[in-house]
Symmetry: C2
C-alpha cells in the first residue's frame, strides 16, 4: 500500500486531537484513503499528555518539519499569523501540501498563501478553519458549485453562542456568563476575539470568498460584538417571536457584497434560531438548491481533528489514487468493505410508544405492566386518557425504555391476549437521537 | 479552455432542471470547474417545454448517447431500474463516466454497476440520488472520512414528511392529506414508493453503505410506511413532547447494522424534529465529530439539478485539472475571481429592532414615527412597555421594515435629538433568513 507521510506541527488541543483520532481510527481512515497515512514527524514546543506519540520523532524546531524531504503534507496547527505564516510558506517553498485549521492566517494572508501554493503546484486545505467538524468548506466549494449563492448566515463562534443561550435561558447578564465560560474553557483568558466577533469575522471572510469568488478581504468586514447586549433586549426579542444570535452574514446586494458580523434578531421558527450552546450552523441560500443548513460542533479537539483529517484523506487520495478514480464509490476501497451483518428487525434495539385499548377497570394496568417487567422491558411513562362518555374502553399510552424488538413483540402478543384489552396494540418506535 | 462534453439522457423534471441551471449559471459553473462544460447531446423520448435546448442535438434513442465517442460524461436522468441499468452499463462499457439521480438503480444494482465502473476505470457519481440538493453523499464520503460513524437518521422523503406535517398541524387524516399531496404534485399517482417507505429505503441503503463501508443490501432494509398512522397518535405524541417523523435509520449494534425505515417518535427539542413540509434532513453521528445535521430541499427540479451538476463539476475538475490542484483554493479559478465591491456598512440593507427610552407622554410616538416615515422607513410593529412605577421614561420598541443603514442611522440621530427621548437608541439588526 502506498504511504503518505504527514508532518504535524503543533500539539495543542487540535494537534493532540488529530493524533488521537488518527491512531484510534487508522484502519477505517486508511480503508477510505486507499493508502497508509502516517505521522512521520511532529514539531512542537512541548509534549502534550493528552496524546501518546509512541515512536514518532519529535523536533522542537517546527521548521525542521517544513524542510524534511520525507514529508508529503505539513499540518499546521500552531495558530497565530506570524510564525504560522512563515512555516506555511516554507512548507510550500519545499513542495509540500499544507493542511491547516488557522482561520486568522487564511483570512488575513490567504491570498498570498494561495498564490504561492498555486505557483508551486501544491494545495493548501483549510476545512478545519471554519465551523469545526462541519464540512462546510467542501459543501460550498464543491457540493453547491452549480449555484449562484445569494447569501449565507452563520453561527460560527461557539463561545458567543453559549453566552447568548445562557443570557436567554436564565436571564443572566453578559459579564456573568462570560466569567463562567472562561472557567469552563469555552472562552479564552482574553475573550476579545470571540465576544467582539473577530473570530467570526475571520471565518465569515473565508466562507464569503468561497461563495462569491472574491479575494479574501478581512479588513472590510464590519464587526460588532455581543458585549453591549442587554438582558432586557434578549427578553423583548423573545416576546416578539425572535431569538438574538451573533451572526456572520455575507450577502449579494446590487453588485456589491455585504460582509458583517453582529447581534441579529431572527424569527424563532427558523431552524438556525434553535442552534444553542457551543454548536455552530451555517445557512446557505443558492439560486438552484434553495436554502441548505449545516450544523454541528464548531470547535473542540476531536471535531476539529475530524476536519483536519478529512483534508488529509482528500490530499492522500489525490496523491496516491488513479486520478480518474480518486474517491471510491462507497467511500471505502472495494477490497476493504466490511462484512457487518444487517440485523433482522427482531434484533433491533429501540424504545417504544404503545397505545393499548384497555377496559377502564382496576387491575388492568398492573397486568400490563407485569407483562412488560417480566420481559425486562423498563417503563418510562404511563398515561391513561379519558375515554368518551360511556365508553367501556380507554386508550392507555405506555412509553417504554430501550428493548430488543423481539422481546417487545412477545410482550405485545401477551398484552393483546388479555381479556381486558381489545384490538391490536399500536407500536411506534421512539428514538432520542441524542 | 478545455471542454468537457455531457450527454444528458432524460428530459423530465430533473433533466429539464439540469438544462436550465447549466444554462443560467454557465459562467459561474465554468469559472469553478476551470473548463467549459457543454451539453453535446440529449437523449429523450420527447421534448420538455420547461427547457429550451437551442441547437443541442436530440436523439430519441438514448443508447446513441452512450455510444457517442464525443461524450465524456453521460448523465442518466430517466429513472427506473431496467432501461436505466442497461444504459448505464453501456455507457461504462464505452468508457464514459456516469452521473445519476437514480436511487432505486444504485440501491438495487449499485454493487454490480460500481464493479463494472472500477473495472473500466470510470466513475459513477450519485449525489443527486439522496436528499436532493443537500450534498450529503460528499459529506459522509469525504467530509466525515475521519470518523467511525455510529448512526445516521434521516427524513429523506419529502412527500411523507409533508403529509405528517399536515396531519400534525391540522389534525387531518392521512388519506385526506395524501389526496391533496397528489393534487399539488408532491406525490405520484401511485404513491406507494413514498408513503410505504420504499423510496426512503433506497436512499437509506446508499447512506448506510457509505457510512459503514458495507455492500448495498436493499433487500435487507426493514420498511414500514405511514399509511396506518392515526391522527390520535400524532396528537398523543405531541402531548408527550415528541414529533412523529418517517425516519430512515442506520445504526451499528453489536457487530451488526440496523437498517430500518418506519414512523418514529423523536423529542421535539431535536433540530431534526422541526424539519417540516417537503424539506429533508440527515443527522449523522461520528465518533470524532459528534452529531452533524444537513438540511435542505430533498427534491424538485432545481435542487436535484444542483446535485447533478455538482457531480459534473467534480468529474470535470478531475478530467481537466492538474491532479495535484484539482479544486482551486477559493473554489473559483484564480483568474476568474470576481471584483464585487465589499459594501461599507452604511449601504447594507436590513431591518431593525429599535429600543428607544422615551417620555411617557402623548405625542412622543407620533414624533418618532414621523421621523421614520420621512426617511421612508416602514414600521412593522410598535410596542410600548410599561415603565417601572413612577418612571418618567418607558421603553418603546419599534420593529422596522428593511431599510438602508445610512438612512436608519440618520433617523436614529434625529430620534436621539428629541427632547422627549433620552440616551442612545439601541439598534439591533433583524434578518428573516427566509
Amino acid at each position: 500500500m502506498n504511504a503518505v507521510k504527514i508532518g504535524l506541527c503543533g500539539l495543542g488541543t487540535v494537534g493532540s486531537g488529530t493524533v488521537n483520532v488518527l491512531q484510534r481510527n487508522l484502519q477505517v481512515i486508511n480503508a477510505r484513503a486507499g493508502c497508509s497515512i502516517e505521522i512521520a514527524q511532529v514539531g512542537a514546543r512541548r509534549d502534550n499528555p493528552a496524546c501518546d506519540l509512541g515512536d514518532i520523532p519529535v523536533t522542537r524546531d517546527i521548521f525542521d518539519v517544513a524542510k524534511n524531504p520525507e514529508i508529503d503534507i505539513l499540518v499546521e496547527l500552531i495558530g497565530g499569523t506570524t510564525v504560522a505564516r512563515d512555516l506555511m510558506l516554507c512548507a510550500i517553498e519545499n513542495g509540500k501540501h499544507v493542511v491547516t485549521a488557522n482561520k486568522a492566517l487564511i483570512a488575513e494572508h490567504g491570498n498570498e498563501i494561495f498564490a504561492a501554493a498555486k505557483e508551486k503546484g501544491v494545495t493548501v486545505a483549510f476545512e478545519a478553519s471554519v465551523a469545526g467538524g462541519i464540512p462546510i468548506i467542501k459543501a460550498i466549494r464543491e457540493g453547491l458549485s452549480a449555484n449562484r449563492i445569494q447569501w449565507l448566515a452563520g453561527i460560527i463562534n461557539g463561545t458567543g453562542n453559549f453566552i447568548l443561550t445562557e443570557m436567554r435561558d436564565k436571564g443572566r447578564a453578559f459579564e456573568d456568563v462570560l466569567t463562567e465560560a472562561q472557567q469552563k474553557g469555552y472562552a479564552e483568558a482574553d475573550p476579545t476575539f470571540d465576544v467582539e466577533g473577530i473570530d467570526a469575522a475571520h471565518k465569515l471572510v473565508i466562507l464569503a470568498s468561497l461563495a462569491f469568488g472574491i479575494p479574501l478581504q478581512f479588513d472590510k468586514v464590519f464587526t460588532e460584538g455581543i458585549s453591549q447586549l442587554e438582558t432586557q433586549d434578549v427578553a423583548y426579542a423573545q416576546q416578539l417571536g425572535y431569538q438574538i444570535k451573533h451572526l456572520g452574514i455575507a450577502r449579494r446586494n446590487n453588485g456589491g457584497i455585504e460582509l458583517r458580523v453582529h447581534p441579529t434578531l431572527i424569527p424563532r421558527k427558523r431552524l438556525i434560531a434553535n442552534v444553542d450552546g457551543v454548536m455552530n450552523a451555517v445557512l446557505v441560500k443558492g439560486d438552484a438548491v434553495g436554502p441548505t443548513l449545516y450544523y454541528g460542533p464548531g470547535a473542540g479537539a476531536e471535531p476539529t481533528a475530524s476536519a483536519v483529517i478529512a483534508d488529509i484523506v482528500d490530499l492522500a487520495r489525490t496523491l496516491t489514487a488513479d486520478p480518474e478514480h480518486r474517491v471510491p464509490h462507497l467511500g471505502f476501497q472495494p477490497e476493504s468493505l466490511n462484512d457487518f451483518e444487517v440485523l433482522p428487525i427482531g434484533q433491533v434495539e429501540t424504545a417504544y410508544y404503545l397505545r393499548i385499548t384497555a377496559r377502564d377497570v382496576p387491575g388492568v394496568l398492573s397486568k400490563i405492566t407485569l407483562i412488560l417487567s417480566e420481559a425486562n422491558i423498563g417503563i418510562e411513562a404511563v398515561i391513561q386518557h379519558e375515554g368518551e362518555e360511556g365508553e367501556e374502553y380507554v386508550p392507555l399510552i405506555i412509553m417504554t425504555d430501550r428493548a430488543i424488538e423481539q422481546k417487545l413483540d412477545e410482550a405485545v402478543d401477551k398484552i393483546q391476549s388479555l381479556s381486558t384489552t381489545k384490538g391490536d396494540v399500536v407500536c411506534i418506535r421512539v428514538e432520542s437521537l441524542g
